[in-house]
Subunit: 220 residues, 2 copies
Amino acid sequence: MVSFTEENYLKIIYKLSAETDSEISTNAVAELTQTKAASVTDMLRKLSEKQLVSYQKYQGVRLTEKGEEVALKVIRKHRLWEVFLVNKLGFNWDEVHEIAEELEHINSEELVQRLDDFLDCPQFDPHGDPIPDKNGKMPEFGYKNLSGIAINQQVVMMGVAQHSTNFLQYLAKIGLNLGVNITVLEINDFDKSMTINNGGNSNCFISHEVAKNILVKNVK
Amino acid sequence: MVSFTEENYLKIIYKLSAETDSEISTNAVAELTQTKAASVTDMLRKLSEKQLVSYQKYQGVRLTEKGEEVALKVIRKHRLWEVFLVNKLGFNWDEVHEIAEELEHINSEELVQRLDDFLDCPQFDPHGDPIPDKNGKMPEFGYKNLSGIAINQQVVMMGVAQHSTNFLQYLAKIGLNLGVNITVLEINDFDKSMTINNGGNSNCFISHEVAKNILVKNVK
DNA sequence: ATATTTTTTTAGATTAGTCTAAAATTTATT
DNA sequence: AATAAATTTTAGACTAATCTAAAAAAATAT
Ligand SMILES: [Mn+2]
Ligand SMILES: [Mn+2]
Ligand SMILES: [Mn+2]
Ligand SMILES: [Mn+2]
């Protein structure tokens, strides 16, 4: 049995692992779980005993295969519920993350399968994130961060790497939604901020922090 | 803030209150929460401090108005989710209770409202139980227990007073579903068991225990 | 009206998850 | 290589929810 809390730790370690090849630090986990490092250490020991992570003290943590499986199941549920909330209940994409944080812990394989069918087996959630299939396979797709795109290269916005209501509402305000055509017009050397065109006839200025959280693909 | 566990206690006290006018006993709560009487006593003291129940030691417990409000919200969510699971995801009515026990604790007024709309504001759940509206009002309907119906009085099955998979599958096996026409053919004095006709051309024999858990209304 | 039985409460422990403060270890800097 | 700084772990404590065993109160039976 994996508890609600343990599931959250696993999900967060999974997310951090996607960004680095090396071990995940206690502090990194503490930041995302919104707990103190001391609490994380306790939990890592427990997860390690359950063989869900491999962990040696002071050496950081990694998911085991079993741990990754659990994490992917939680992520699958999170994203399927987000699709449900947006496509079926009419929520806006900036309102669903918090609710999905609760729904993702509902335990029923049958429920997930039926929900998946009901939603026509979506490949992506409302934020453009890929949804793992029932075997934990993530659909492949080579999205890049807008922050790494060169000047004058035309791209299409396909996703976001951050789900907070704040961030998503900011994007809406400056006219950035999934599917929008983006062209980088100018990059400021000193802080990597950008001026971009969002397909319409208005340009906008975004910080590097924002650009890093926008996922795009090239236009062929 | 009302915790998951506190919500369950309130829901159970609500259910017990529907069956009696008097105070609810510690043991009665312990039985339904599947805990020991000592644990119930602790919880009652806590709920009392939060003004969700009125409780004096050795005198049993009652919901306050505030406590009833919380209980009704949880019951509303439970029943709406059951409708969703059956009507939208195609679950059988005997498979949904346990899943709804988890879903009922998801916290979002907005979610409940949208779910209600999505389901076209149903008045009854798949077991025939009335769904409280957003103000906590239960739709009125004068269903009676089959156990109190006289011989030869024709009635229609409208609900069940028990949601366990076991019980519901047993009903299916003997041909009893919502909407079926029932006529009591014989009542055995010594144990109140009955022979009934279920509208088709087969009769069946049911115990008093079963009859008490079947809700019916008269045919005009 | 006592005695017995049943119910309920208290006392004391346990587990999961968290915290603060102090100690240990690792990493970075001189 | 020694020292300073940052990170991580340990020690000890707290809260929520639960338990068992014993004590207290209420209900029932004689
Ligand atoms: Mn999300
Ligand atoms: Mn998402
Ligand atoms: Mn139910
Ligand atoms: Mn029901």
